[in-house]
């Protein structure tokens, strides 16, 4: 099985992980001396090649491989680290590598001339290392370590332009919200460990693992009873971790703000890979979930998909639209996991990684050129605001084509990869609902509505950016006009746009069951397939998408916009459902208020008690001091003084006057005689 490469898949995958780490270390050591990014680029290209030829091809579709070494031992318990190579992990690793390569190439041009570019390459390699390591971890604790590392890399990248206040606020926000999720993940790990006694992913979640079959014949271990309360709690705890990382409602608030980072980073970290880590985690621990936790996951995923799409409708910042689109699509994936069809979730993860990365890169190209134009003309406008764009397809045709392809994939247009993956989730959700019946139909219906909203908002973005007339037309001259992005930027985009089409994922353009990802994973969800759903839903979606795009065309290109800008609903969506304000009011103000209260308590009650105690002690000490000085010392001094005066009195006799001595002697003799006489 290993004829393609001379080294074993385990060693190769270790190299895939370690090469970017090496690049990060070398870049850190070289510092400002190395600004070309060649080190990181070479590392990630080698990683990608190794990942495809030496890891993915030998392992994909074959039996899993695992390598473990003992990390540390506490008492009788050993913790192990290692590599797990199965279909899921090698696919994830490959996606990360393949998306990272175009982003690296693109970054060379996008970040050119930035004063902190040496840091940029270092962080980018750090992120690649952490994400690749995360994908092949064999142990939940090891997974958690890499989980934290990707979060840290994301934190560094959001705050890359740390002189901007907004960037600092955004990375703080991302960090804090991810802490909530990480806490959930940690609680989940602790629950699993305390009840099952191992964190090994194979031992827990494999086909023969504790959550699937148990090892009743050999080890006498029981299958974990799924209806235990702790299983539900652990499932929800893991989901909390995934919620923060994958930006699920209501913990999604960090992702739109995270767009303060460089656009190339947004495309890699905050669209394609890191935010998908939550979905990846859920797929990894899928056997852990029971019916209750799956229902919660489905509900949250649906709410996220809907709210993300609604908020995306009214954003003006091109990156924020895409950020909310990412949130919405992540909601789709989470729904896919929640209904048990985690293979569709993973499929959507794979397709989404490519087209969303491409959307971001194209948006980055637009922003790049708008910023150039702004610098040339000395105008003051926001280069990310789509109201300042329009008609750019005449100036940047290649970017326009790339972005349109990605937008069609996002909208789920036939022949694109997005059509396959989105349909797979919606159809599965419909089948799931028809098995469960009744109220559960809310979920597929919502997903269909979200798909139409998706088509509308991405249409709005494309129309407002590339169609109509340029908002700055009056400033355009023969020399000062927006240009096409440099070749180094649109080449990676065109590579990615090829990946937006169906042949990359399967030969049949319309049937998602025949794509290689779904065929290999083949999750067996507990619902029956329905032929009619496979026919009706794609038609409904496609027609709906076309109608939504048409509506967008009339509204934005033909300028027949019927709604006032000040409409209450538009404002609601534009302000992201006032969630930030809500958080500000409830959590921040609440925390500050509580802190004030505690401060006052501390200041007055705790300090007061201390002060009272001090005062009492002081007074008591004063009393004792007085007693000591006056009574104890007084007695001693009185005795001493009395003795002194007595001695002084008698001392007067010893005055050296012989006559006195004789006088005394005489007196005593006379007294003696008198005594004798009287007696």
């Amino acid at each position: 099985m290993n004829e393609l490469s001379p080294i074993s898949p385990s060693v190769a995958s270790l190299l895939v992980v370690l090469l970017p780490f090496l690049a990060c270390v070398v870049q850190a050591l070289l510092g400002r001396k190395s600004i070309s990014g060649n080190i990181s680029l070479i590392a990630i290209v080698s990683s990608a090649l190794l990942s495809f030829f030496a890891v993915f091809l030998p392992v994909w579709g074959n039996s899993p491989m695992a390598e473990r070494i003992t990390w540390f031992t506490i008492g009788q318990t050993s913790f192990e680290v290692g590599l797990l190579l199965n279909n899921l992990t090698v696919l994830m690793q490959l996606i990360v590598c393949v998306v990272a390569v175009p982003v690296h190439i693109y970054s060379r041009y996008y970040m050119k001339g930035d004063s902190g570019i040496h840091r940029y390459w270092m962080y980018l390699s750090l992120f690649c290392f952490a994400m690749l390591g995360l994908s092949i971890s064999i142990n939940l604790l090891q997974l958690y370590v890499f989980w934290e590392l990707v979060g840290f890399a994301s934190y560094l990248m959001i705050g890359f332009w740390f002189t901007r206040d907004a960037a600092v606020q955004a990375n703080k926000k991302a960090f804090l919200i991810n802490r909530i999720g990480d806490l959930g993940f940690l609680i989940g790990i602790a629950l699993v460990y305390s009840h099952v006694g191992t964190l090994d992913i194979v031992a827990l979640f494999d086909q023969t693992g504790r959550f699937v079959q148990g090892l009743t014949e050999t080890g006498g271990l029981q299958v974990v009873q799924k209806d235990n309360t702790w299983v539900t709690l652990a499932g929800l705890a893991f989901f909390l971790g995934a919620m923060a990382k994958s930006a699920q409602f209501p913990l999604h608030v960090w992702l739109p703000d995270a767009m303060e980072g460089p656009t190339s980073v947004s495309s890699l970290i905050h669209a394609a890979t890191m935010v998908a880590a939550g979905v990846f985690l859920l797929c990894t621990v899928f056997p852990l979930f029971n019916a209750t936790s799956l229902l919660v996951i489905t509900a949250i995923g649906t709410i996220t998909a809907l709210s993300g799409a609604v908020f995306a409708l009214a954003q003006y910042d091109i990156k924020k639209i895409l950020a909310f689109s990412t949130i919405s699509q992540l909601g789709f994936m989470i729904v896919g996991v929640g209904i048990g069809a985690w293979d569709t979730a993973l499929f959507h993860l794979a397709t989404h990684a490519f087209f969303k990365c491409l959307l971001f890169l194209a948006a980055g190209a637009v922003i790049h050129e708008m910023a150039h134009f702004k610098a040339q003309t000395n105008l003051d406008f926001d280069p990310q605001d789509i109201r300042n764009m329009g008609g750019l397809r005449r100036y940047m045709p290649k970017t326009y084509v790339c972005m349109s392809i990605a937008a069609l994939a996002l909208a789920g247009f036939p022949l694109t990869s997005g059509y396959l993956s989105k349909d797979s989730i919606v159809v599965s959700a419909y089948e799931w609902a028809s098995t469960a019946g009744g109220f559960y139909f809310v979920i597929p219906v919502t997903l269909i509505i979200v798909s139409l909203l998706t088509a509308f908002y991405i249409g709005r973005l494309i129309f407002k950016t590339f169609f109509g007339s340029f908002a700055m037309q009056s400033s355009v001259t023969a020399h000062n006009r927006p240009h096409e992005a440099p070749a180094g930027m649109w080449w990676p985009m065109s590579v990615l746009s090829i990946c937006c089409f169906f042949p990359v994922f399967g030969l049949h353009p319309l049937a998602y069951h025949q794509t290689w990802i779904i065929q290999t994973f083949h999750a067996r969800p507990g619902f029956t397939e329905q032929e009619t759903a496979h026919l009706i839903i794609p038609i409904v979606l496609t027609v709906g998408t076309l109608l939504a795009l048409l509506l967008g065309w009339f509204w934005y290109v033909k300028n027949r916009y019927p709604i006032s800008q000040q409409n209450r609903w538009i404002r609601f969506a534009n302000r992201q459902g006032y969630l930030n304000e809500f958080n500000e009011l409830v959590f921040i103000k609440g925390t500050v208020g509580l802190s004030r209260l505690l401060y006052a308590f501390d200041r007055h009650v705790v300090d007061g008690a201390t002060k009272l105690f001090t005062w009492t002690t002081q007074q008591l000490a004063r009393l004792i001091h007085w007693f000591d000085a006056n009574i104890v010392d007084g007695i001693v001094n009185w005795i001493a003084n009395g003795t002194y005066y007595m001695g002084h009195l008698v001392r007067q006799v010893q005055n050296g006057q012989l006559q006195n001595y004789l006088g005394f002697a005489l007196t005593i003799v006379i007294l003696g005689i008198l005594y004798l006489i009287i007696k």
């Binding site: 010893q654 005055n655 050296g656 006057q657 012989l658 006559q659 005489l666």
Partner: protein, 101 residues
């Protein structure tokens, strides 16, 4: 009739005068005189009581010894006083108080 009692009374008076001189006088020579008076009072007692020893005349003999001894003592005492004077430039016993503590 002069009885022994009269002798003793005179002797006691002389003795008391001597004691007074020793205790009260501000001159060392007068103290020496006081000592002589006391010695003479005791000699008078010897002589007075010698009346009852008419065999050996012990009292008279003892009185003679005492007179010689007193003369010698006075000579020594005067020599001491002379030296004290040389040392202290005074013979007032009040000023010679080096025996005090």
């Amino acid at each position: 009739m002069i009885s022994i009692t009269h002798f003793l009374i005179v002797s006691a008076i002389i003795f008391c005068i001597g004691v007074y001189a020793i205790l009260a006088k501000r001159n060392a020579i007068m103290i020496l005189v006081g000592i002589e008076l006391m010695i003479n009072a005791s000699i008078l007692n010897f002589v007075a009581f010698a009346r009852y020893d008419s065999v050996n005349y012990g009292g008279q003999v003892f009185a003679l010894f005492a007179i010689v001894l007193a003369a010698a003592a006075v000579a020594v005492g005067l020599a001491i006083i002379l030296n004290v004077y040389r040392h202290y430039k005074t013979i007032d016993p009040k000023n010679i108080n080096e025996l005090k503590d």
